[in-house]
């Protein structure tokens, strides 16, 4: 992202189209306004004042592409990367707070976080490519509101809570309640996701995320599955959260799938029940990335394979 500082040049108005002149003295359309505030208050204020289309901008790996494809034409871009709280990764008594503008690469370089939440990192590691992860953020991955976002199901499975700020103050929202549909969130106008809090990791617990894509990399999940589970000393599952991506209009928290595991030793019968519950929860669409039939079936397969990894991690 190139910083564009200073005031926007005066424009001529012609049929609502703003023009300026380029270095050759020729007409050219003005660019959108770009702001990079250093405080949350300033960011909230900028968004509140904007009457046109505004976009919060962190890594820009979705926003820039959408602008380039003419899908959006923002009047205002608010870059949140200069806001300190949004860039921190902090451990507090075993629980973690991750700034929403922390990049995937920064998280990958944080060994302690990787050890605590390997399943969340399974998802983060699958976002885009090396270059994309250098800029892309977990906050952006969530707020872009794709049902197929790779870091969202494991964050839902982890029971992460988002801290949201806006014109009416600050509130906590469960990760599972933010995305409401493709490109749609429950965020109010002018609200920004500031950070995520992940709970303290209990003993004998583990998480994992797997996705299915036709290509090995640089692809969008046809199905994604995040599972976080906890065992007692005897190896019986005492708690579990199962989240599916790309099989419905938004990432799902599937209680029936979790219940298939809770109270069992996660043996063959539990695995069968898990697959059935995962498939039953799917309400996907037929599209260029997969069919209803295929997504529904593979969701069950993937849930089982994810559970195997989560179980291994819980036991180790």
């Amino acid at each position: 992202m190139v910083r564009v500082d200073g005031p926007v040049r005066p424009s001529v108005i012609y049929k609502d189209i703003p023009f300026t002149e380029n270095v050759n003295g020729e007409a050219t359309l003005t660019d959108m306004r770009y702001e990079a505030p250093e405080t949350l208050d300033a960011a909230v204020g900028l968004l509140a004042e904007e009457s046109g289309v505004a976009r919060v901008f962190a890594g820009g790996t979705d926003v820039m592409v959408q602008i380039h494809l003419d899908l959006i034409e923002p009047d205002l871009i608010v870059d949140v990367k200069n806001i300190a709280e949004m860039r921190e990764v902090v451990e507090e008594d075993g629980s973690w707070r991750i700034g929403a503008a922390v990049t995937g690469k920064e998280l990958m370089d944080n060994a302690a976080f990787n050890a605590a939440w390997p399943g969340v990192m399974d998802g983060v590691r699958l976002i885009g490519s090396v270059q994309v992860r250098g800029r892309a953020t977990v906050g952006g991955n969530l707020c872009n509101a794709s049902p197929a976002a790779d870091s969202v199901p494991p964050m839902i499975a982890a029971d992460a809570v988002a801290s949201v700020i806006g014109p009416n103050g600050r509130r906590d929202v469960s990760m599972a309640d933010i995305v409401t549909g493709p490109g749609q969130t429950s965020l109010e106008d002018g609200e920004i996701v500031v950070s995520f809090r992940l709970p303290k990791r209990p003993a004998n617990s583990g998480d994992a995320y797997l996705r299915f894509t036709p290509r090995s990399e640089m692809d969008i999940a046809v199905v994604g599955c995040g599972i976080n589970l906890m065992l007692d000393d005897g190896g019986t599952c005492t708690a579990a959260r199962v989240s599916l991506g790309a099989v419905a209009a938004r990432p799902l928290l599937v209680d029936d799938a979790a219940n298939a595991l809770i109270g069992t030793k996660v043996g063959d019968d539990a695995m069968e029940a898990l697959a059935a519950a995962a498939s039953a929860a799917c309400s996907p669409i037929d599209d260029k990335r997969g069919t209803i039939e295929y997504r529904t079936e593979v969701a069950g397969v993937l849930a089982q394979r994810t559970a195997v990894i989560a179980l291994e991690r819980a036991k180790s």
Binding site: I17, A27, T28, L29, F212, R215, D219, K288, V298
Partner: protein
């Protein structure tokens, strides 16, 4: 293709001799450094003072009549300097010409670059704008009002052939049918090719297998989108910088389409960011010239990726029916095929090439091939590396695999038993000369790959491919500098990035000077005589014939200089080891002269040293290859993983073996992508749903293993160094080889392309149901 071989075409007989440079792997590649550092200039890198940005307004409909176009608001927008539509281009009569491996019809070419009466596919150009900025050009496009009458459309080739299908062209009556059909249809042409007696062949067969195959159109996947910049001057001259596989052909087409003299159009080919046949056609060039003429400014146009997908030619989608018969001991007695090839919005698919390649690699007595060229509401197809051949190979090589299994024979042994060889009569005309197909099979059989053990759900597949090589018009100039270094100006666009290095090696070998002393560079249309496109694998094969011819003329000139200096006759001087020498002791005792010494004396003895070639190369030598692939199938997701891949091909003579290996590997990887995940996906409105590399899934590096390669060398007898074209064969076998490997792994035959996870999973499921039914019947 499309022209008969000329009796005046050039053949230079193969000579076996010791080679100093050809066959080595020089490190100083001609193109590498500039490409790595970013200095290589592609069309989009060219900037001219005062240039405007051009944009194309495209149809959102698969098929519609254009009722009106109102450009007035766009023209009034500040910053807009020119707007053009159909009225700015002359209509063209029906006239056919070769454009790469496919034929074009100028009446269609002009309609394809700018719609006239109607739009025939999503993305069809309807207007173009030139403005002082890209943003203004985009804004102007929104102000152009186009009134459409939307009509029913047809996307799939089988649907388009149905009697009740919407007909794209009311004036299209199937050619090749006698008498002429009464009604127009989407079947533009019917082609037939026969050898022997097909009925007799099937009577002799003990095993007959008949199967139907369907393939989706696939994209060439070049990284560089089409880009052009045109400068039309007040003097009526046009200069065009563009990414092309054939600048001379583009010059001819621009001149024809804009009714200009060819001499007033200069086309400068820029570094090419991949072509694979996709840059054989003009799209932006004539629009940029007309926008430049109208605005009196240079106009630059660069397609976005979605424009590339929506509006430039992919390869044909096909429906192929194959029926073959053999004896129980594995001798093929009959080979029959029906080829239904989708050509896109206008007639002219790769059907003729599919017809040629369908069975050619087998020595057959009875062959019957019938083909249909079918128009549909998709972009006009273009060439794609061995155009037409991978789809028919999918059918034939899969049926051959089935026949081998029925006979209880190894698939390589079965192919060896039926392999084409020198003297084999092809069903389309010529007898084959010396070829290396049998050697590729024998080398495959001996390869270490075949000794690798396979695990559960893993399988091995084999398939072979054939491609002819074009010769055609080729020109080159060798200039000897005053310091004795050489510059080759070539006119066959270096689409691979390898032929310029191969040319340098060949000129160095001919002149007897080090490789580093030869520079090769591409010449624009004003620098050389006409060159046909780099297509049909001809780039290095044909280009090197011109380089040899030009080098030998420069050598003759150098011998003449030595003769004048020594005051002997030119035929008393010979060229050996990079020096002019007296032909024998009786000529006189003269010190041999090097290129540098001769260059110094050249002026006095008549002028600068140069050699030219303007030849029509007879043929580039047919190529054959055999591929072996191991796959693993995930039975629960249908995902296919490529475990191992080995490719063996006859190159005639490998000039620069590392580059040959790169060509082999690149072709195999494109073939793997084609086989597994690539397809154009249209919705029910006929709009392309995946116009980008995110959802048009070419493989990424981690999807493919290292591709093992082996080069067979059976010299092309009509080339002085024995070179054959090699670029296209490697993409032909992967599709069937992978299908055969999947069958070997999990027992199901995939006959619908692509073999993507949902299709494989469904095939596994259907197979389980079938097996259960068979067992149920058996139990009763």
């Amino acid at each position: 293709m499309g022209r008969a071989p000329s009796p005046f075409a050039t053949k230079i007989p193969y000579e076996e001799k010791d080679l100093k440079i050809i066959g080595s792997n020089p490190t100083a590649r001609g193109d590498a450094v500039d490409k790595v550092t970013g200095r290589a200039r592609y069309a989009a890198d060219v900037k001219l003072p005062g240039q405007l940005i051009g944009r194309v307004l495209r149809s959102p409909h698969a098929r519609a009549n254009i009722l009106s176009i109102d450009m007035s608001e766009a023209e009034a927008l500040p910053g807009v300097k020119a707007v053009v539509c159909r009225n700015d281009f002359p209509d063209m009569e029906v006239e056919h010409a070769a454009s790469g491996e496919l034929m074009v019809n100028f009446r269609d070419v002009t309609r394809n670059m700018m719609a006239r009466e109607n739009v025939l596919y999503d993305g069809h150009p309807v207007a173009a704008v030139a403005a002082t900025s890209d943003a203004i050009a985009k804004q102007a496009m929104k102000l152009i009002k186009v009134e459409y009458e939307v009509l029913p459309h047809v996307i799939d080739v089988r649907d388009a052939m149905k009697p009740d299908a919407p007909v794209l062209h009311e004036d299209q009556f199937t050619k090749g049918v006698d008498p002429k059909p009464e009604k127009p249809s989407n079947i533009a042409a019917r082609m037939e090719s026969k050898l022997g007696d097909i009925d007799k062949g099937f009577q002799e067969a003990e095993i007959v297998i008949e199967r139907e195959f369907n393939t989706k159109p696939v994209h060439q996947g070049y990284i560089e989108p089409q880009a052009s910049i045109a400068n039309y001057t007040e003097g009526g001259m046009a200069e065009v910088w563009t990414g092309t596989q054939g600048h001379f052909v583009f010059r001819a087409q621009i001149a024809k389409l804009l009714k200009m003299d060819m001499s007033k159009v200069k086309v400068i080919p820029t570094e090419l960011g991949g072509g694979f046949g996709g840059k054989n056609n003009v799209y932006l060039e004539p629009l940029a010239v007309v926008l430049s003429k109208k605005s009196n400014r240079p106009v630059k146009m660069v397609m976005d990726r979605d424009e590339v997908f929506r509006a430039t030619g992919p390869t044909s989608g096909t429906n192929v029916k194959v029926k073959m018969g053999c004896t129980k001991d594995g001798r093929i007695t009959a080979a029959q095929a029906e080829l239904n090839y989708q050509s896109g919005a206008y007639a002219g698919s790769s059907l003729p090439l599919a017809t040629i390649t369908v069975f050619t690699r087998y020595d057959l007595e009875n062959v019957s091939v019938v083909g249909h060229d079918v128009t549909t509401n998709r972009p006009k197809v273009a060439a794609y590396r061995a155009p037409g051949a991978p789809m028919v190979a999918f059918g034939v090589e899969t049926v051959v695999d089935e026949m081998a299994r029925e006979c209880g024979m190894d698939p390589i042994d079965f192919r060896l038993k039926n392999a084409a060889k020198e003297g084999t009569q092809t069903h389309f005309g010529p007898k084959l000369g010396p070829i290396g197909y049998i050697q590729t099979l024998e080398r495959a059989r001996e390869h270490a790959h075949l000794k690798e053990k396979l695990g559960p759900n893993q399988g091995r597949g084999v398939a072979s491919g054939f491609w002819f090589t074009l010769g055609a018009e080729t020109s080159a100039t060798v200039n000897i500098g005053e310091d004795g270094t050489a510059t080759l100006i070539f006119g066959t666009v270096d689409v691979t990035g390898g032929s310029r290095s191969a040319f340098a090696m060949i000129v160095a070998e001919e002149l007897g000077i080090p490789f580093e002393k030869v520079r090769t560079m591409s010449g624009d249309t004003s620098a050389l005589g006409f060159n046909f496109m780099t297509a049909g694998s001809r780039g290095t094969a044909a280009g090197s014939m011109a380089a040899v011819t030009a080098s030998r003329k420069a050598i003759a000139r150098m011998c003449e200089i030595a003769a004048r200096k020594w005051e002997v006759e030119p035929d008393q001087v010979v060229w050996e080891d990079g020096r002019a020498r007296p032909a024998g002791a009786n000529v006189g005792d003269f010190e041999p002269m090097t290129v540098a010494e001769l260059a110094k004396e050249a002026s006095w003895f008549g002028g600068t040293i140069a050699g030219h070639a303007e030849i029509n190369v007879a043929q580039g030598g047919p190529g054959f290859g055999t591929h072996v692939v191991d796959v693993e199938v995930d039975r629960r997701t249908g995902a296919v993983k490529i475990l191992r891949y080995t490719l063996i091909q006859d190159a005639g003579k490998a000039v620069y073996p590392e580059f040959i290996e790169g060509q082999f590997q690149g072709g195999a990887v494109q073939g793997i992508g084609t086989a597994l995940n690539e397809e154009y996906i249209y919705n029910d409105k006929g709009v392309l749903e995946n116009p980008g590399f995110l959802d048009y899934r070419v493989p990424v590096a981690s999807d493919v293993p290292f591709i093992n390669t082996e080069i067979v060398e059976v010299p092309n007898p009509d080339h002085p160094y024995g070179i054959r074209g090699i670029g296209e064969v490697p993409i032909i076998p992967p599709l069937p080889a992978i299908a055969n490997a999947i069958h070997d792994a999990v027992g199901v035959r995939l006959r619908d392309h692509p073999m993507s996870p949902p299709k494989v999973l469904k095939a596994l499921r259907d197979n389980m149901i079938e097996e259960a039914a068979v067992q149920g019947t058996a139990a009763e």
